[in-house]
């Protein structure tokens, strides 16, 4: 489903080049539950952004469901972000001025779905993450855990096959973090492919496979089931 071959990513800041990824090979099959671990600066987030089409590789190949991502136009990439991949960020990245409902509705608007369907779907996913009673609250009126659940609901809105989460519990206390992880567990049982970046050994141990990164390279690819 996800297939990266010799992917490199180089950031250029002024005259300084920084090679974040130095030739990554990575595969994920449909329905897999994978954690990505590694020290800071090992390239975890960069890898995740490339998988989620938030960024493009400098070199190498990337096939998503067999289609070459490298050759896609910006509109095609936007459509993949909209429908194929749901992204959950460490910093939540909710629109601060919008309610939970409006935040979750954003990807549905870009998918050009009609109003009645959007409404039903937003309430559905908010209920799925346990926020049926916080539909009209703004992010400032929510706890960290609740904000992250809104973000997960938003990632789920367009029923993507893949959920990518970049340290989703990094900003949360352990109780809230535990709830978030339980949601991911359930989603995986429903058949979603889930890839989580984490520093937390407890989280990593729940996943099917642990991929270790070091200095922009895959140190260990874990065991394929």
């Amino acid at each position: 489903m996800i297939d990266l071959k010799d992917v490199e990513k180089t950031y250029v800041t002024g005259t300084v080049e920084f090679k974040a990824l130095k030739g990554i090979n990575f595969r994920a099959e449909k329905g897999e539950y994978i954690s990505v671990v590694g020290p800071s600066g090992s390239g975890k987030s960069t890898l995740m952004n490339i998988i989620g089409c938030l960024d493009v590789p400098t070199a190498g190949e990337y096939y998503l469901e067999g289609r070459p991502v490298i050759e896609m136009t910006s509109n095609q990439l936007a459509d993949i972000r909209n429908r194929k991949v749901g992204f959950v960020f460490q910093a939540f990245n909710l629109l601060p001025y919008a309610t939970s409902f409006e935040n979750v509705e954003v990807p549905l608007l870009f998918a050009k779905l009609n109003g009645r369907y959007r409404r039903r779907r937003v309430l559905e996913v908010l209920a799925q993450v346990g926020l049926a009673d916080k539909v009209n609250n703004k992010p400032t009126e929510l706890s960290g855990g609740e904000m992250q659940r809104v973000a997960i609901a938003r990632a789920l809105a367009n029923e993507p096959d893949i959920i990518l989460a970049d340290e989703p519990t990094g900003n949360l206390d352990s109780a809230s973090g535990g709830e978030i992880v339980r949601i991911f567990d359930e989603l995986n049982k429903l058949g979603k492919t889930i890839i989580i970046i984490t520093h937390d050994v407890n989280i990593a141990s729940r996943t099917d496979r642990i991929v270790k990164l070091k200095d922009g390279l895959v140190e260990s690819n874990g065991n394929m089931l």
Binding site: L54, D55, F110
Partner: protein
Amino acid sequence: MVPLVSFKQFVNDMRRQKLRTAMTMFGIFWGTCSIVLLFAFGKGLTEAQLRSMRGMGENIAIFWEGITAQEYKGLPKGRRIHFTEDDVTQIRQRGQHVERISAEYISYDVNIKYGKQSTARNIHGVWPEYGPMRNVNPVFGSRFINDRDMAERRRVVVIGNLLAEDLFGEDDPVGKEILVNGVPFKVVGVMKKKQQDSSYSGRDSRAGFIPSTTYRSMHSRRYLNNFVVQCKPTSTMLQTRREIYEIMGAKYKFDPSDTKAMAVWDTTEGFAFLKTFFIAFSAFLVGIGVATLITGGIGVTNIMNVVLEERTKEIGIKMAMGARKSFILWQFVTETLLITAVGGLLGFLFAWLLVSVFPAFNLEDYVGTPTINVWGGVIVIVILGLVGLGAGIFPARRAANLQPVQALKLF
């Protein structure tokens, strides 16, 4: 084409970012309002000045008797040149450049009476052409002196609007009889109120006008006080003056180039000056307008830039959620256009409101009636809109061209 469904999001964004929207809108509002007002009052002032300049008459010159300053064909200098009504008739017959002409006799401080009201005002003996030429226009339901009045030496009088108020108060003077120096005259006309900023024998508003023939039959006077000439629209007053000097010079034997032989007040000279002055005044207003626009534009640009950081992140989030580039740009363009349109329209309406209530302050005699220039307003709104668009769309395009991860500042 982005479907209407995105419109909801756009409206949401506008509603959520009240302060930014309000500040930008206020910038446009204020710019539009001040420029529209500036031009409205500028135009009003200019027109009021020109109107009161025209109050005595347009393209007219007044001629008085003079004393020759040059010897001519054996005749000495220092001869007094008077004129009679016949001279004026002759000028009318022979003058190629003369549009209208009228003889004028004046009696000063004549006793005028109606019932118990009595006052002392000037009485002018004039020709029918005097009225339209000197802007002594009758109010509705009355008239100026006509040819039959002249031929039959009727005792009819046209009175100024203030003289009418002095004598009759609220009553309609037309058809009533007044006593001019004890002689009964019938009032046939009342002058329409007008602005008049210059005169040679008192304001027309407090004067009385009677046919010159009637005047002559009552006073044994041979010579006129003066005569008034209006030149043809196709001629210049200079040509007309030269022509009159030639006609009169031939008749009374003086050198047509002897300017002292007749005294003349050519009002077109002052008019020309005033016109030049107001062209300069308009240029000044345009200058202020441009400065105001630049200030407004800088304000709008500033506001757009202040929110750039916040917006870049927002753009990043939206792109991560699947927004296409075209949506981001479309949103910015529509947003700016809507803000500009609403702000501009409000500014225009506010200016219009101020101009509409302005007459209530009774200052029109001093600064004129401000007049709204719709196209000026539209141009101002368009310029401010373009400035806002430029200020908004370039950062938006830069952000939309980033990879989502860069806009989100995740790396």
